[in-house]
């Protein structure tokens, strides 16, 4: 039951949990690696001479929008910034060590371009009662993340539905 939720979780509902500043700068080489993995040859991501017909600049693959809030695996000078801290905080507090994404809704407003700095804000929208699933016992929750570029323009929004569970 929601009433069985720790106060620490209840007080998060509807509140901005944290704002993450971009750990990395958007770079075409990074998005082109991804396009290569999925074999996407859309010239918008690759070739400025062909792109100019459609757009004033190359753009990042839209699917990567949330990934611009993800840090490198290791960095020589600073501690790594972990994405989706809110999700991992909920898992920790509820003692649900495993988690998967079940549904995603993502909206793209402003194209993300080479040199952009993307920041994000996370908010817990809902959390379910306890559920028994094939994977284990746990809860579902929904987190909304808004993404902004360096001029504070809202470039997109993602709503992610998770199942956190234990075996």
């Amino acid at each position: 039951m929601q009433s069985n939720l720790p106060k620490e979780i209840l007080k998060l509902i509807g509140m901005t949990y944290c704002t993450d500043l971009s750990p990395i700068t958007v770079q075409k080489g990074l998005w082109q690696n991804f396009c290569s993995a999925i074999e996407d040859g859309n010239p918008l991501y690759w070739d400025i001479t062909k792109t100019s017909k459609y757009s004033e600049s190359l753009i990042s693959h839209p699917a990567l929008l949330p990934s611009w809030a993800h840090d490198f695996q290791w960095h020589p000078e600073r501690e790594i910034i972990h994405p989706m801290q809110l999700h991992f905080h909920i898992k920790d507090v509820l003692n649900l060590p495993l988690g998967i994404v079940t549904d995603v809704e993502i909206e793209f407003y402003e194209p993300v371009k080479d040199g952009d700095e993307i920041s994000s804000e996370q908010k817990l929208l809902t959390i379910s009662d306890c559920v028994d699933t094939k994977l284990g016992n746990g809860r579902y929750w929904e987190i909304e993340v808004n993404y902004y570029n360096q001029t504070k323009q809202n470039v997109g929004k993602q709503n992610i539905h998770f199942l956190g569970y234990q075996k």
Binding site: S36, A37, D40, I59, H61, P66, F108, E110, V155
Partner: protein
């Protein structure tokens, strides 16, 4: 294209390498996308699984491969019904479910796309995209400013 018309079916073969690459190049370091031992022993999954960025990328690619580079995806909603593992041939099945003509140059369309393996749906999605109705590249949906674009998404 008419409402309910199907798009051509396309395929994509998953491999250990492209599932790992999709996760790594989206800087998704969760071990269930790259470490088979962890995925099987700790998460009790059949193998490593495709991450949602890769699936989202493939669904968007399906749309832009068909409608061309000027097609601008504005919204994607997807539901992962079963984990997608290596060595599976994904089949993308799309249908046009609605169309709103904004001008003689732009139409906002909604597509339903199912990702199937052996005729079972592993993921389903809905996409809203703007497509250029004219052959003039100056009318590319990518040239629409973001506030106007947003207003089309919420209509």
């Amino acid at each position: 294209m008419n409402i309910n018309d199907p798009l051509p079916i396309t395929t994509y073969l998953t491999t250990v390498k492209n599932i790992q690459a999709g996760a790594i190049f989206s800087r998704d370091w969760a071990p269930l996308h790259s470490d088979r031992d962890w995925a099987v022993k700790k998460a009790k999954l059949p193998d490593i699984i495709m991450n949602n960025y890769t699936l989202n990328g493939l669904v968007i690619k399906y749309v832009t491969d068909y409608f061309g580079a000027s097609a601008r995806v504005g919204k994607v909603k997807f539901n992962i019904k079963k984990p997608i593992c290596p060595n599976k041939r994904l089949k993308f099945h799309g249908n046009l479910i609605s169309e709103k003509i904004i001008s003689d140059q732009l139409s906002m369309i909604k597509l339903a796309i199912d990702v199937k393996i052996s005729n079972q749906i592993f993921a389903s999605s809905e996409i809203v995209a703007g497509i250029n109705l004219s052959n003039k590249t100056k009318n590319s949906p990518w040239k629409i400013d973001s506030e106007t674009w947003k207003s089309y998404l919420f209509e």
